[in-house]
Symmetry: C2
Subunit: 513 residues, 2 copies
C-alpha cells in the first residue's frame, strides 16, 4: 500500500517513491542552474511550518530596485506522512497555513505562480545546491508535569538531525542562518560542532572553511499582519564569525524592510539567542504577575482592567503592562523560558535558574484553573453542569489553537464531570484534542447551558446581544468573561435578564442585582 | 532645658512652648480669616516630608486665569525633635529638602516669601480652619528579616493617629485627600471608620455628614524634575462617595496640569490604592527578573545591556524592560509590594499572596550580594581588602540615600572584613548608616584601593579618565561596574592599564588582556 500524507482538508497525497525522488533531484539541479543563470542566489528554507513557509515567500518576494528577485527559494519539508502534503499544496500556489492576513494567499500566489521563484521539495539533496539555508525546524520544550516547568527540557534530537542533514550536503561557503527559537548556546554548542564534524568527514578543511552560521530570530505574530510581522519589523542578528555576520546582514537587508526597521547586531549568537528567549520571558512574567493582582482585585471589588489602563497612562515606563485572561497560549511564551532555563545546565554546564520566568510559565499554564474557580464560586459542584466554552484558539480573532489555554479549561472541567460544548468561529478541528470537532454555530452550543464562558474575546462574541444569548440558552446562565470584553453596560443587561456575571479580574461586577 | 530640633545643617530650633502655641493659634485664625476674605480656599498639608512639602508649594502656586492663587496652604508638621526644624526653615522661604531641581528653591521662595500663601505650623488646631486636608504622612513597611519580605508588614499606628487628629478638628464638609501611598483598603477600612468615630464623638451626624475622603497618589521622582513630576504628570484618583470625588476632581484640576495630563478617575479608593502599589510592583518585578538573566549572561559571555537594547526596540510592548544594577533603593519599589501583600489578610481578611511582587522585593533587596560575588570571583577572601565604593545614593545624580542598595553592599563587605571607603558627590551624611560621613573627594578614597566599585552611575564617575583613577589608586585595582556606564572602549583602556574589569550583566568583558 502506498503511504499517503493527508492534508487538513482531507485530501490525500502519496509520498514520493524512489523513482519520483530520482526525477526530483534532476528537476532541482535544472531549476537551480536556470535561476543562477538569471543572477539569483539560491536559498533553501528548512522546515515549512508556521514561520518557515511564510519566511520562504518573503525571501522569494524580495527584489532589487529594478524589481528583479534577489533569490530563488527552495522550501524543504521532509516526506513524512504528517507533513509531506505541504509540498504539493505549496507548489499549487496555496499556503499550507490558515491566516486572517489576506497577504498570505497573495504572497504565495505571487511567488509560486507568478514569479515562479519559490518551490517546495522533499528532496534533501537540495541543500547541496544553495548559497543560504534558513533553518526553521520546529523545536519544542517538553513539560513533563502540569504546572511544574522546572522539570521542562528540550529534546534537540530532531533539530540535531536536521543540522546534520545540512552538514552532509551544503557547500562549505553556504551560510546557515538559524531562525528557529533555540536554547541560548545552540549555534555555538550544537550547530557548529555538527557542521564541523560533517565537513571533516567530507574532507573539508574546517580551519580554512569554518562553517558559516548566523542566528536571527523572527517576531512573527499570527493574525491580520502575519506577513508584515516577518518582513516589516525589528530584527536582531549575529553570527559565529565575521564572514557569517556579513553574509547574514546582506541577506536580511535584501529581504526585510531595514530602512524603517534597521537591523540590530549583537556580539554573538549566544547574545541573539538569549535575547529572543528573554524577550518572551519578559512577556510571560508580565502576564503572570497580573493574575495575582486580578485575584486580589476580584476579592476587593476592583476592576483590574481599569487599574491597568490607569497605570498604562505612563508611556515608555508602564505601558507594557499586560492583562490577565483565561491563560497564555501559543508557541512562544509557553516554551521559551523553558528553553533558556534548560540551556544553562545542559548546554553551558552552569548553575542557576531563571526562577521568575519558570514561575511565570507555571502561573500561565495553570491560569485556566482560576476561571474554573470562578465557576465554582457560583456552582461548587460541576457534575453534569452544562458549560459552553466560547473560543478555543489562543488569541482573539485567530484560529491558532497551539497550546491554547482553552484546552486546559475544557480538560479540567471534564475531569470534574461537567458537560462541555465548545465553539469557535475560526476553528474547525482542534488537533490537540481527542474530541476535536469544534462547533461554529452557537445554536448547537448554547441551548440548555448553565454556564457560558467567554474564553476568548473574538469579535463575533463582542457583538453578541445579551438577549440573544440568554434566549438561545433558554436558561439564565452564569456568564463568565475571561477577556474583559463585556462592558459594564453589557454586564448590567445580562444582570437585568436574570444572569449572574463573573469575570477574571472583574471584582466590581460580583454584586447581583 | 529647652527641647530643640536640629536641622541637617546643625542649626538648633527650640520647640514651641505652650505660650508660643497659644500665640500661634491666634495667628492661624487671623491669617485664615484674611485669606478667606481674599476669596481663597484654605488647604492644610499633613506631613512635610519628601512629597508633602513640595506638594504644599504646588498647591499654593496654583492660580486662576487672572493669576490669583486658588488656595492658601498651611503646612503642618508635628513639633517633634526630629522634624520641627522644618517649620521655621520653610517659613524663612527655604526648602527642607535637598534637590537638584532648581524649581524647588524657586517655588518655596515664590509661595512663602512673594505670594505669602504658604506657611508652615506645628499647631494641629489648624485643621479646624481648612476646606481640604492633603494627607502626606509617611507610611513605611517593616521588613523584619533581610530577603524575606513575606514577613513584611505595615505598622499603621502613626498613620491612624494622624487621621484621628483630623477627625478631632476638621469641619464635616472638609475633604480629606489621602496622597500617601497606603495599603489598598486604607481609605475605606482605616480612614473612614476613624473619621466617623471622631465625628460621632463630636456630635456630628454621620448619616447627614458622611466624611469626605478621596485618594490620589503622586508619582514623584527625585531629581532634576522633582516639582514637575508632582504637578505636570498623570494622576489617578477616586473617592468614597460622589461628593468626595467631585471635590477631589475640582482640587486636582486647579492644582495640576490636567490639560496636558487629564485625570484618571477610578471606581473606588480601593482601586486607586491598588493601582499605586501595583504600578510599583510592576517595576519591582521588571527589575528583579533582569538579575537572573544578567547572571546567565555573565556566565556565557553576553552583555545583557546590549540584549536589553535589542529587545526594547519593540516600542509599546517591550520598552519598559528595566536593567539590573547594584540593586533597588528608594522609598517606593522597596515597600509598596509589601503594603499590598499585607493588606490582603490584614485589611480584607482574604487569602492569597502577591508572590511575584514579594519575590521581586527579595531579589531586589539582596541584589547587592551579587556584586560581592563578582568581587569574590577575583578575590575569594575579602579580609583586609581595600574597597572603594563610589556612589551611596539610590539613584544616578541624586543625593537621596533612602533604602540605598549601597548600604547593603557596604554592610556585607564589612561583614567579610573588607576595608571599605565610601564616596558620593551628592551626599555629605548618610543618615541610614552608623558611620555616616561620606567623602566627596576621590583623593581621600581611591589611594591604595584593591577594588573600585562604581556602585552608582553618577555623571561625575562617567567622566572619570581611567588613567586618573588608576594613577590615584597607585594599584591596578579590580574595577566593578554596577551601572553599565563603562563603555567597551573605556573597559579596554582599564584593561590596557593592567586592571581586571567586571560588571553586573557584562559577561563579555570577563576575558583579561
Amino acid at each position: 500500500m502506498l503511504k499517503v500524507s493527508i492534508a487538513p482538508d482531507g485530501k490525500e497525497y502519496p509520498l514520493p517513491s524512489e523513482e519520483d525522488a530520482q526525477k526530483e533531484r534532476e528537476i532541482l539541479k535544472q531549476i537551480t542552474a536556470e535561476q543562477k543563470a538569471l543572477g539569483r542566489k539560491i536559498v533553501a528554507v528548512q522546515g515549512l511550518g508556521f514561520v518557515g513557509c511564510v519566511m520562504a515567500t518573503v525571501v522569494a518576494d524580495a527584489t532589487d530596485k529594478d524589481g528583479n528577485p534577489f533569490y530563488f527559494v527552495h522550501g524543504h519539508q521532509r516526506a513524512s506522512q504528517r507533513s509531506y502534503w505541504k509540498v504539493p499544496v505549496i507548489n499549487s500556489g496555496i499556503p499550507p497555513v490558515n491566516s486572517s492576513d489576506p497577504e498570505v494567499p497573495a504572497i504565495f500566489h505571487r511567488t509560486v505562480v507568478e514569479k515562479k521563484n519559490f518551490r517546495a521539495t522533499s528532496e534533501e539533496s537540495v541543500y547541496g545546491l544553495v548559497d543560504i539555508v534558513v533553518v526553521d525546524i520546529q523545536l519544542d520544550a517538553t513539560k513533563p508535569a502540569f504546572g511544574d516547568a522546572e522539570k521542562g527540557y528540550c529534546d534537540i534530537t530532531a533539530f540535531r538531525e536536521g543540522i546534520r542533514t545540512l552538514g552532509k550536503h551544503i557547500q562549505p561557503e553556504c551560510l546557515v542562518l538559524v531562525e528557529t527559537t533555540v536554547p541560548p548556546g545552540t549555534c555555538e554548542k550544537v550547530v557548529k560542532p555538527i557542521l564541523e564534524e560533517e565537513f571533516t568527514k567530507r574532507g573539508i578543511d574546517i580551519e580554512k572553511n569554518p562553517p558559516l552560521i548566523a542566528h536571527s530570530y523572527e517576531r512573527v505574530m499570527p493574525g491580520a499582519h502575519y506577513v508584515a510581522s516577518i518582513r516589516d519589523f525589528w530584527r536582531v542578528f549575529s553570527g559565529v564569525n565575521p564572514k557569517s555576520i556579513e553574509l547574514c546582514r546582506e541577506f536580511l537587508s535584501h529581504v526585510l524592510d531595514v530602512e524603517n526597521y534597521p537591523l540590530t547586531q549583537l556580539d554573538s549568537t549566544n547574545a541573539s539567542e538569549l535575547a529572543k528567549t528573554m524577550e518572551n520571558s519578559y512577556r510571560a512574567v508580565n502576564i503572570a504577575l497580573t493574575l495575582e493582582w486580578a485575584k486580589f482585585a476580584e476579592q476587593i471589588g476592583v476592576d483590574i482592567f481599569k487599574v491597568r489602563d490607569a497605570i498604562r497612562k505612563r508611556k515608555e515606563t508602564h505601558d507594557n503592562l499586560l492583562r490577565p485572561s483565561l491563560g497564555v497560549g501559543g508557541y512562544c511564551l509557553t516554551k521559551d523560558p523553558v528553553l533558556a532555563n534548560w540551556a544553562m545546565k545542559s548546554l553551558f554546564g552552569v548553575e542557576g535558574s531563571l526562577d521568575f520566568a519558570i514561575k511565570a510559565v507555571n502561573t500561565n499554564d495553570t491560569m485556566p484553573l482560576h476561571t474554573i474557580d470562578i465557576v465554582k464560586s457560583v456552582y461548587p459542584d460541576l457534575k453534569n453542569l452544562k458549560i459552553a466554552v466560547l473560543g478555543v484558539s489562543y488569541l482573539e480573532d485567530v484560529g491558532d489553537t497551539r497550546h491554547s489555554p482553552s484546552k486546559t479549561l475544557v480538560e479540567f472541567l471534564r475531569k470534574d464531570l461537567a458537560i462541555v460544548k465548545t465553539h469557535d468561529p475560526y476553528v474547525e478541528t482542534w488537533p490537540e484534542m481527542e474530541e476535536n470537532h469544534i462547533q461554529n454555530d452557537l445554536n448547537n452550543v448554547l441551548p440548555e447551558s448553565d454556564v457560558v464562558i467567554f474564553a476568548v474575546g473574538h469579535s463575533q462574541y463582542r457583538k453578541l446581544d445579551p438577549k440573544y444569548v440568554v434566549d438561545l440558552c433558554k436558561t439564565k446562565p452564569l456568564i463568565v468573561d475571561c477577556s474583559n470584553f463585556l462592558s459594564d453596560e453589557t454586564i448590567n443587561i445580562y444582570k437585568d435578564l436574570g444572569c449572574k456575571v463573573r469575570g477574571v479580574g472583574k471584582g466590581h461586577i460580583v454584586n447581583e442585582k
